[in-house]
């Protein structure tokens, strides 16, 4: 018996508001649980838009997106985004401490039943995310972009999503920070069995995982390897 895919995109079409030019036309792809998907393509090819469509931050003109077999439009948006967590290219923090930022998802009704990590658990996680020198009580706004990016990924994971969408997670980072983020991404997939879709325009070759690499071209996705 075939397993229901975690995510299935069927015949997707999309154009930006006020434009007739289609960004996607007949785009289809299937994502199975535990896969590490890498979407490549030049700037402006619609990579970020694809991730935003999956978590409904944009609405497609046609086609459908199924999550665990259900059309995403039939799922309560907050519930969908609690299960499919999207981390934007530029990490956003509220004007509060690192701890308050990390616990932000638990202030929302949909995550009320989920277990809140203790301060000790948060400290352990910070070490795992190469943030050992960051204190939970310090201001999150004063962190570097690289630190904020790792914190944003960590925060997204705290609500235990089934699918993690990472939008150009290293585009604003230096080489060292970028390597840390890549290492975190690979560990999330190999150790935690997380399903990831990452979009990037840089030439990134994972060391410890064998990703499915897609290229966005001609308004659709093409499997490269």
């Amino acid at each position: 018996m075939l397993m229901t895919p975690l995510l299935e995109i069927r015949n997707l079409s999309f154009a930006y508001e006020g434009s007739d030019a289609l960004v996607f036309d007949g785009l289809s792809v299937t994502v199975q649980e535990g896969e590490f998907i890498l979407v490549k393509g030049p700037s402006g090819s619609g990579k970020s838009t694809l991730l935003r469509l999956i978590c409904r931050l944009n609405q497609p003109q046609g086609g459908s997106i199924l999550f665990q077999g259900s059309d995403v439009t039939s799922i309560v948006p907050a519930k969908l985004r609690s299960a499919i967590s999207y981390v934007a290219q530029i990490p956003q923090m509220i004007d509060a401490t690192v701890e308050e930022n990390l616990l932000l998802p638990f202030s929302f009704a949909i995550n009320a039943g989920k277990s809140r990590p203790s301060r000790e658990e948060l400290k352990e996680m910070l070490i795992r995310f190469y943030l050992a020198d960051v204190s939970p009580s310090q201001s999150a706004l004063k962190l570097s972009t690289g630190q904020k990016q790792r914190l944003a990924i960590m925060r997204a994971l705290l609500q235990e999503p089934l699918l993690l969408l990472l939008d150009e997670p290293t585009s604003a980072l230096d080489q060292e920070s970028a390597s840390m983020v890549f290492s975190i991404m690979e560990r999330l997939n190999t150790e935690d069995r997380k399903t990831l879709i990452t979009v990037t325009h840089i030439d990134y070759k994972p060391e410890t995982v064998r990703p499915l690499i897609y290229t966005l071209a001609h308004r659709s996705l093409h499997l490269s390897s």
Binding site: E17, C55, R56, L57, N58, Q59, V72, T73, P77, A78, K79, R81, S82, S85, Y86, V87, A88, I90, Q92, I94, L104, P105, S107, F108, A109, I110, N111, A152, R155, A156, Q159
Partner: protein
């Protein structure tokens, strides 16, 4: 002593000295306000004279339909003024704002003239029209401030809202701070007016009553009712309009519809 001193046409024109001072200030310091001051002066004269003639006619009427029609014209005019100030093209806010204004102002004006002042009938134009006018004028400014703030903050903080949405927030949770700021920005002028009334300024209605020979102790009672009425109507209309318009800033997937300007 209770005789009202009338202002002759000559004396009225003499008051234009104040406008000349304002025009001179704008001219000397290149404030670019000469045209607006001139139009504002002309509109003040024409609109108030027109209002004076209409009120003279309306105050003698015994038709509730006519009184309510005047009230309707006032609300429609207020809506156009808000539309001119807010200048939002992407989100359809005009119809819900207009309907909320109409219902909440009507309810407030009926409550004040019919129950608090206890006039029979409740639409007695001498009480209903001034009460309605004060409610509309005051809340109109509050709504314009709140709407401007809501749209501006939603645009400026779009990434922050989307971050919260991505962490499982519903649209209400993701925009809670913006909603609160928008409502309170509109309400602060009415609340400040309650703080300063009688100390910093004597309100227009009370001044008018005293000038017309009313006992100040009676005039203050009317003024207290008016102040409370203004805060209440501003709160109700701002909260209701912000609740409706905020929802319209989000699509069916609770995604932010406003795009940067």
């Amino acid at each position: 002593m209770n005789q009202i001193v009338t202002i002759s046409t000559g004396q009225l024109l003499l008051a234009l000295v104040f406008i000349l001072i304002a025009q001179a200030s704008s001219f000397i310091y290149h404030l670019g306000l000469n045209r607006d001051i001139a139009i504002g002066t002309l509109r003040t004269f024409s609109q108030l004279f027109l209002m004076g003639y209409v009120l003279t006619f309306i105050l003698k009427t015994s038709s509730p339909f006519l009184v309510l029609s005047v009230f309707m014209v006032m609300v429609v005019s207020a809506m156009f003024i808000i539309k001119g100030r807010v200048k939002e093209k992407q989100i359809p806010y005009i119809i819900p704002t207009f309907l909320t204004m109409l219902v909440s102002y009507l309810a407030t004006a009926i409550f004040v003239s019919g129950l608090v002042v206890g006039i029979t009938p409740w639409w007695e134009p001498r009480y209903f029209i001034p009460a309605g006018g004060m409610v509309i004028g005051n809340s109109m400014s509050a709504l314009a401030i709140s709407l401007e703030r809501l749209f501006r903050d939603m645009r400026q903080q779009k990434e922050l809202i989307e971050m919260k949405l991505s962490l499982g927030a519903n649209y209400r949770e993701a925009s809670l701070d913006i909603f609160r700021n928008a409502v309170s920005a509109g309400m602060i002028p009415s609340i400040n007016a309650m703080m300063g009334v009688g100390l910093v300024f004597i309100p227009g209605m009370m001044s008018g009553q005293i000038l017309a020979g009313t006992d100040p102790l009676i005039a203050i009672r009317y003024q207290i009712v008016v102040m409370l009425m203004l805060v209440g109507s501003t709160a109700v209309s701002s909260v209701v309009v912000m609740l409706i318009v905020r929802r319209r800033c989000f699509g069916s997937g609770e995604e932010v519809l406003l795009s940067p300007r």
